[in-house]
Symmetry: C2
């Protein structure tokens, strides 16, 4: 059985990662969303175990001390992390995993799991990004300005990723990521081989 | 303007490259089939300039002496080749090109144009391949046997390619190649970058 693919999706705050992820999961039902652990407060629409799992800072720090995270980071004062054991189990079972994480986390993944597929989601323009951050309505002016500045810095990190997908239309962005996953599964360097060659190799 | 992609498709004799190519060109009309030059006789259904261009051996040899070919090979006693200038002009204009060539030709392309995308089309089984070669009805028993032996050797060459696509169903194989092309266009190493970053980089 072929090992599962670890797909890492990052992008600046407000680029629409969540919406694109939901669309992608609808396109490709075999893909499982890897649920991150966080110490931030749930947003009104969020359910624990679905978008994130929520943990107290003390519990999170205990897991860090046990080296339980494949990656973890502090963003805007909150911890976010991915439990390594859960990812490994899924990949070994042949399950493809989607991780929506920030740039710091993605680069930790790259170092630990070179075979991860790193995809950067970019806005069609900085203006579009500003509108989306402001339009969310959950942020005051100071926070919007802070997020935009952070987004500009985050955007430069795309160069460290394997793929860049522009989120002009959610459907197109999700289809592009779906194509990237399909293509990666055909890569000879990932062990794709002709059925006719049977058990000759590895 | 982004440079066009050179997509090279190979696979053993009888695997169905022609059928998959036609389906792929229907899926992705912007993709242009690169027409090879050959000294073999046209098959009844073939038109010059569409499937192949046909040339006399003396003319082909003159072009070889002028180093006009990106790749050329002798297969079953006939010359096949791709004119380099035509490929370069298309890629510079941003046109994606599909080249259906044999393993020898593909490896010449790899050496000359490292950025070419090499895709190997494999049969779902050797038995399926035998049926397809025999079913074509244009070959006698000796030729079928010779083609099958060659196909087995050709199959091992998949390891030199970037991608392997199994031709179980023509539609699925064409869709997989279409996804590979879409994915390659998102590769950061090919120059994909956020529209928002404008003219900052190359």
């Amino acid at each position: 059985m072929a090992a599962g693919l670890l797909v890492v999706l990052s992008g600046p705050s407000g680029v629409g990662k969540g919406t694109v992820c939901r669309q992608l999961l609808a396109l490709r039902p075999s893909l499982q969303l890897s649920v991150s652990l966080t110490t931030r407060q749930p947003r009104p629409e969020e359910k624990s175990g679905c978008d994130y799992e929520f943990a107290a800072p003390s519990h999170f720090q205990k897991l860090i001390s046990e080296d339980a995270f494949l990656e973890w980071a502090v963003v805007y004062g909150h911890y976010y992390g991915t439990l390594g054991k859960r990812v490994e189990e899924n990949l070994l079972q042949g399950t493809d995993l989607l991780l929506e994480i920030d740039v710091q986390g993605a680069l930790q993944i790259r170092r630990r799991l070179a075979e991860a597929v790193l995809i950067f989601l970019a806005p069609p323009s900085m203006e579009a990004l500003r509108e989306r951050i402001a339009g969310r309505g959950t942020e005051d002016a100071v926070r919007i300005s802070r997020r935009l500045k952070a987004a500009q810095q985050e955007l430069a990190a795309y160069q460290l990723y394997d793929y860049l997908v522009v989120n002009s239309r959610v459907e197109d962005a999700a289809a592009a990521i779906d194509a990237i996953i399909a293509a990666e599964k055909c890569r000879v360097s990932r062990g794709a081989r002709p059925p006719a060659s049977g058990g000759e190799q590895r």
